[in-house]
């Protein structure tokens, strides 16, 4: 079934009828965004793997109701709508291939974005400009420039935006960051980050293939340069092609570098220098580095090294090394040396970091309170900058001096050119 705009609008009409029958589903434009009893309406943009995770995170909540899904793959649309309809016992979840039909819909309050990275900024900005609050997956944007525009639009339109860096809502990472921020390791000197292995080798060549039924491939490419369809390019594997993502540097770096930024109190800033060596495939479809080794230096002298791990574990890891001890944290582990560090309490007069134990719940609460969420887009942007400048440093294989506030490199015109990319029409950030 081809989901046309007319069909979408027709379904929207049905949904409006359903809303009349079930008056709890009334958009914020009617009740007011922060009416405590209202149910917020949600549309999910990008409902592949991560998008389904978003849906499952929201389906059990009585504070939100998913009313629409948008995806360029019709099979993804149908699969997601089926899950949503079965959960609600209805048939009214709307489907579209064009995100603008949900980011501009009057009856939708919230937008989640879980598209390929090259498609994060545009729908998020469109949603913000149309009065929606947004949840945007990490890494926040493909380029530094996109991130700057996204954050500027967020503030200009006074919207609430959460980045999908959900480790900030995890007890272990929160505890680690709080201990470090309160000096339990003494002065932090060095941070070591490991991220999972990158793309596999899939051959030196690839062949254009027929676009599968149901996939709007031109829309999938979106702002990226034209390239013929080949199956390895799309869906999960997109992250290994630099036109669409930044490999594991940005995929996992967005999580673990984020914890470093939090622990160091660098949410509004970042390192002042970066250098790195990556192994970039000299041929084949994939262009993201297969091995990464990036070193960041902060103005206070803290150095951070991020490398690809080689033990096959599909998780990251971060070790903070201070002059009074070390702290080793990952998703399944929190260890300190000496052990006693972990038993220490944070006193009333000390720094207590933003506490969230439910990343989606925190976002929804903030939508109602109009407070900033734990992973406000501006924070996600600064962390994503680290990932992106890490990739740039590895590409250029030279030390780069970075201004974390102006978000420009010093004295390296080529490096600065890599902070943005020309988007294929009709797409732009304007």
């Amino acid at each position: 079934m081809n989901v046309t705009r007319r069909g979408f609008v027709k379904n929207a009409g049905l949904a409006a009828g359903a809303a009349a029958a079930f008056p709890t589903i009334i958009p914020a434009s009617v009740l007011g965004q922060n009416a405590p009893s209202k149910v917020l309406t949600v549309a999910c943009v990008g409902v592949g793997g991560m998008g389904l995770s978003h849906i499952s995170q929201m389906l059990g909540r009585d504070t939100v109701r998913i009313v629409a899904v948008a995806d360029v793959d019709r099979h993804h649309q149908r699969r997601a709508a089926k899950i949503i309809n079965e959960k609600y016992g209805t048939q009214d979840c709307r489907m579209t291939g064009d995100f603008r039909e949900v980011t501009r819909a009057k009856d939708i309050d919230l937008i989640t974005v879980a598209t390929p990275d090259s498609w994060h900024a545009i729908p998020a900005i469109d949603a913000i400009r149309n009065g929606k609050d947004v949840f945007v997956e990490k890494p926040l944007t493909l380029t530094v420039r996109e991130g700057r525009v996204l954050v500027e639009e967020l503030r200009k339109h006074k919207r609430v935006g959460q980045t999908g860096t959900m480790q900030r809502s995890s007890e272990g990472f929160h505890r680690a960051a709080e201990l470090i921020r309160n000096g339990r390791l003494g002065t932090v000197k060095q941070i070591d980050v490991l991220i999972p292995a990158n793309n596999r080798y899939v051959g030196a060549t690839w062949k254009p293939e027929a676009v599968p039924e149901g996939l709007d491939y031109d829309f999938w490419l979106g702002p990226a340069p034209y390239a013929p369809y080949t199956s390895q390019r799309t869906h999960y594997q997109f992250r290994y092609v630099l036109d669409y993502a930044g490999g594991q540097t940005t995929n996992w770096g967005a999580h673990y570098l984020d914890i470093a930024q939090w622990a160091l109190g660098m949410d509004e800033s970042g390192p002042v220098a970066v250098e790195g060596h990556g192994v970039f495939p000299g041929s084949g479809l994939f262009t993201a580095p297969t091995r990464v080794d990036v070193r960041y230096t902060y103005a206070n002298g803290v150095t951070m090294r991020m490398r690809t791990r080689t033990d096959g574990v599909y998780d990251g890891n971060i070790i903070f090394r201070g002059d009074k001890g070390t702290l080793d944290v990952s998703r399944g582990k929190l260890k300190s040396d000496p052990e006693g560090i972990l038993k220490e309490q944070i006193g009333d007069g000390e720094t207590h970091l933003y506490k969230s134990r439910d990343h989606f719940g925190n976002w929804i609460e903030c939508v109602k309170s109009r407070e900033r969420p734990v992973s406000d887009l501006a924070i996600g942007h600064k962390t994503t900058n680290l990932c992106n400048i890490g990739n740039i440093a590895m590409q250029l294989q030279r030390r780069l001096d970075w201004d974390p506030v102006q978000e420009r490199f010093a004295d390296d015109a080529m490096a600065n050119r890599l902070l943005t990319r020309a988007m294929r029409g009709p797409w732009s950030l304007a």
Binding site: R145, R148, V149, E152, A204, T205, W206, K207, P208, P225, Y226, A227, P228, T230, G282, S283, G284, L285, Q395, L396, Q397, A413, M414, R417, L418, T420, R421, A422, M423, R424, G425, P426, W427, S428, L429, A430
Partner: protein
């Protein structure tokens, strides 16, 4: 070059552990390897990028004083009517790193091309060029191109005017 393998006649030296086996055809033709700069213009989508990647590396590592020479070589490939679309895209990606107003002048027609793929690929390079020449070329092309790229060019012009 390894002492164990002769590459000129495709036969392996007696000391080679693989002696007696046929040499890899690529080694056999090693001495006839094409100039990687010339390979760029022949690239097809999905082709092996090994050769052209060496050019990319040279440019990434170059001293800025070398950029004009590289730009000239890339522009020569870009304006060659025989250059493939994939090859042109590769050239534009490299030009995006080093292009100057000279590229703006040389690629003005391609920027306003009726071929929307070519127009966008050209924009990859030209949008990265600071200054009035690129501003003017993008603005002029925005008034000429049709279809999806009309909005793309208009957006590009608007974003260049937006200081962040």
């Amino acid at each position: 070059m390894s002492e164990k393998t002769t590459v000129s006649d495709g036969k392996r030296a007696a000391s080679d552990p693989l002696a007696g086996q046929a040499a890899d055809a690529r080694y056999k033709k090693f001495n006839e390897t094409a100039d990687p700069w010339k390979v760029i213009g022949t690239l097809a989508y999905g082709d092996d990028r090994t050769m052209v990647s060496t050019v990319e590396r040279v440019i990434l590592d170059a001293d800025p004083s070398q950029y004009p020479g590289f730009e000239e070589k890339l522009l020569k490939i870009a304006v060659d009517p025989a250059c493939t679309e994939a090859g042109y895209g590769f050239v534009c990606r490299l030009l995006s790193l080093i292009a100057s107003p000279k590229s703006v002048a040389a690629l003005k027609d391609k920027l306003a091309s009726g071929n929307e793929v070519v127009a966008h690929l050209t924009r990859l390079a030209i949008e990265q060029v600071p200054g009035a020449e690129a501003d003017a070329a993008l603005r002029a092309a925005a008034g000429q191109v049709k279809g999806r790229e009309a909005a793309g060019f208009a957006g590009a012009v608007a974003m260049r005017e937006r200081s962040l």
